[in-house]
Symmetry: C3
Subunit: 377 residues, 3 copies
Amino acid sequence: MAQQQGSLSLGREAWSTWPRYEAAVLGFPNYWYPVLWSRQLKKKPVGITLMGQPVMFFRSGGKAYALRDRCPHRGIPLHHGEQHFPGTLSCAYHGWTYDLESGTLVASITDGPDSPICGKVRVQTFPVEERLGLLWVYMGQGTPPPVEDDIPAELLEKPVTVCGRISERKGNWRLAAENGFDQGHAKYLHRNTPFVFFRKMPVWDRSHVVPIEDGKWIARVTDEVHFDTDFPGLGRFPTRKQWWKRRGGAPRGGSPLRLPGMLRVAYPEWSHYEWYVPLDEGHHRYLQIAVKFSQGLKGWLFRLKYWTNLRWIFHGLFNDQDALMVEDMDSPPERLYRPDVSIIAWRKLCEHPRGTEGVLTEPITESDLPAIAEPVS
Amino acid sequence: MAQQQGSLSLGREAWSTWPRYEAAVLGFPNYWYPVLWSRQLKKKPVGITLMGQPVMFFRSGGKAYALRDRCPHRGIPLHHGEQHFPGTLSCAYHGWTYDLESGTLVASITDGPDSPICGKVRVQTFPVEERLGLLWVYMGQGTPPPVEDDIPAELLEKPVTVCGRISERKGNWRLAAENGFDQGHAKYLHRNTPFVFFRKMPVWDRSHVVPIEDGKWIARVTDEVHFDTDFPGLGRFPTRKQWWKRRGGAPRGGSPLRLPGMLRVAYPEWSHYEWYVPLDEGHHRYLQIAVKFSQGLKGWLFRLKYWTNLRWIFHGLFNDQDALMVEDMDSPPERLYRPDVSIIAWRKLCEHPRGTEGVLTEPITESDLPAIAEPVS
Amino acid sequence: MAQQQGSLSLGREAWSTWPRYEAAVLGFPNYWYPVLWSRQLKKKPVGITLMGQPVMFFRSGGKAYALRDRCPHRGIPLHHGEQHFPGTLSCAYHGWTYDLESGTLVASITDGPDSPICGKVRVQTFPVEERLGLLWVYMGQGTPPPVEDDIPAELLEKPVTVCGRISERKGNWRLAAENGFDQGHAKYLHRNTPFVFFRKMPVWDRSHVVPIEDGKWIARVTDEVHFDTDFPGLGRFPTRKQWWKRRGGAPRGGSPLRLPGMLRVAYPEWSHYEWYVPLDEGHHRYLQIAVKFSQGLKGWLFRLKYWTNLRWIFHGLFNDQDALMVEDMDSPPERLYRPDVSIIAWRKLCEHPRGTEGVLTEPITESDLPAIAEPVS
């Protein structure tokens, strides 16, 4: 990248301050990631690149499986294959047949029942679970934790109605996660989107971040909020009165974020959750879930509201503004400012992923920000 | 490439066992390759990248020529050019005019008849021949052998009617050649394609490979053939009875393959030939030729059959299944199995290309396969 | 690149003979480049990659500004932004607000009026001027010269009517510049384009090049011109009589070229100017300007002629032939010939860009050409 004139080195940030965060280009493997709607996995295998690896999902006997999507014979993706025998999948090219549970080659159809290679080849398998109508996969080392450990507790304990959207977006997953928790942008970038047509957005605020639930989540705590503001020498912002807008309606609970990249935004009547699932260096799978903590009639009314309004106004127009930013964001080098206490907190959280020692216990405040540069000459 | 869990090193194959095969990314230059239908080369030059080099074909006075497709002056492709004087081609940019036979610059139109550069510049030329309605080019070193040396004898000795299709496909030419001769896949991958709707395909067989015609071709010899088969612990394959299918109708003669990548599949009534012509590392030109060893009325009836049936059912639907495999194949690393005796034989043949010593004389059997790995733990 | 058989090393040219020319992949920064029509910059910012750098143009209070198109905060392109306060532009993401004149961060809307980062961050700015209905930018070091220094004097001194076309083209800007001044190609490549339907083009000529206006421009001086010509052993060129063509109508004044890549072609009734503005290694912005040295009624009649004829016949059909050559040109290696005295002259001029010592004073003649190779064997 060309050098930037006018950016001094003091206070300028590279990502080396947070080595685990910097290394997590392809995500944090020791977590469960949601990938697909359960209803998307029917009779045909589905191939997806996840965390830089080809993975094939397949449903057999009602149960979902995930295997590395590459036949060890000649490298053909297994998602071209089909099932001949229960509990197995056969590669499309030569009929190498793998046990879905263990990944072991149990038959090599074109080499007959006495094929000597059977039992000598194994394809990597990944644990899969289904919760909330979603398919979750674990690509980490060792015995996985219960999938419940990676799902917000309230989604498992209460009756829920879940709607949502899964899409592929450009940009590294870390930029998507930072955009989600970013304290600064929502009130500015989204100030005119239809979702907040009647809501007066603050101009600026000051906040700090606290770990909650034993350091599992980080949540923002707002210390001051300011609306119409005079900027000395420039003028008042917003520059125009918008009499039809009212204060309030903001999400509650600090819109917390947790590893491996999951955000909760709790509105009074419903909650939004989103995940940033690493595909490769420059793409992530973006899961947006709208949840009503009711079922039955209230659940159906929420579904109606989702498909006629929220899907378009919130998951569409609102979050598409974020997509453009995540796609065009380009860091480092970067210059952080006071509201980036939320960014700093997230990167600190990333230094304590599952399987490492320590946990985030202290609040993160403006004093954790890097020193600001000398005035430019 | 990410490491594959469950693939032990013993029995796992890289291509370094066959150094000439491994080096032949762009093909074997000391052979004639068919490239175009003769009828495709009319008045306009045709530019094609062959074996990684830009080549221009041009017809003048009825004769076809091939020149390196780059004017030495400023690098403009000569296929943009045109002919002003018999036996020459002029570059479109400044009228540098090359003798088609020798490649020598014989006039530089915009520099006048006394241009001092004439005779001082030469463009590389490649020998071209026309046989069977096809245009053949030789891009190797030294005096080329007669083109007949690289054409199956029966195609030159008997009366023939030739139909076919030339297309560009993804994947290195070696993977295409291996797919062509591959013992294992035809009976499985193609088992349900319309071309074999009435033909019962074997489930598995065992075979060895023999050099024929003084080691020019390698041909498969089938030692056992098995149809409906029980796979212990899994079940019977095929899983469903297909009462309308009958045995027989398989090609004869072991569907032999020869250098530089030419396959013959002899059906009782007609024969199929195919060539895999290297373009660049990841693309090849795929020539599919259907031949009837008759002319006159029988020839015309065959043409009718080709254009109404074979072109669609065989060269289309059947061979397109291969195209998908060749495009998605990804080796090494690879794990070979018993039917891959055909793959091993081809790679051994590639170690004896024209211009090197030695020839393949011994049959290739299952004992030539690499040792199979220990059972996975 | 594969070696070219038949090209000996003597007389074969790499570009290392002209080190500043060779290094100028992204142009010569110490010059003003025209980039946009003034009328193209209205209320919305415009982002363009220039000389390999992202640049944003924005009009405020009637004046045009250029800033580096990257917010130092998180790297978001500033051209997504908008204006809230006169003389500033705010980044779309967090409202970082930059003074357009100095590039200094004057407000950070989402961090309040006391944001400590204000005044500590600066975005690089580039001087911008508007002349002839075009927007000019200076991306060099130090104080820029007056923009008039980089505009042909006659365009500033006389009344003018300016029409034209701005487009993006493939190929490095140097190849486009060389094509523009190239002595050899026009009479051959363009011999049959509609623009010269009634004009008999020479077949060949001999010329030298002289510096004019104190070495600012280089201009071709034609020493001999030849029309129908016999090429010994080949025949007469043109090969066919074109009785409706007449001599004359050629541009006057040697179609001079100057740094940083600007060509003038003076026809009796109007003049054509073109610029080759470097975008990145493989693309340039191509500005084609048709100028009538009159205003009022004559100006409007010229506009009519431009939009009904010249735009299509000259800036379209004629110059599109050049575009194909520039896109497909591939040098070095190259072999220069006698008419390339114009190319040599341009490369010599490139060795004296603004900010270096020396100036081109001597004519460039055929004796400046590299020695021609021995005849090929």
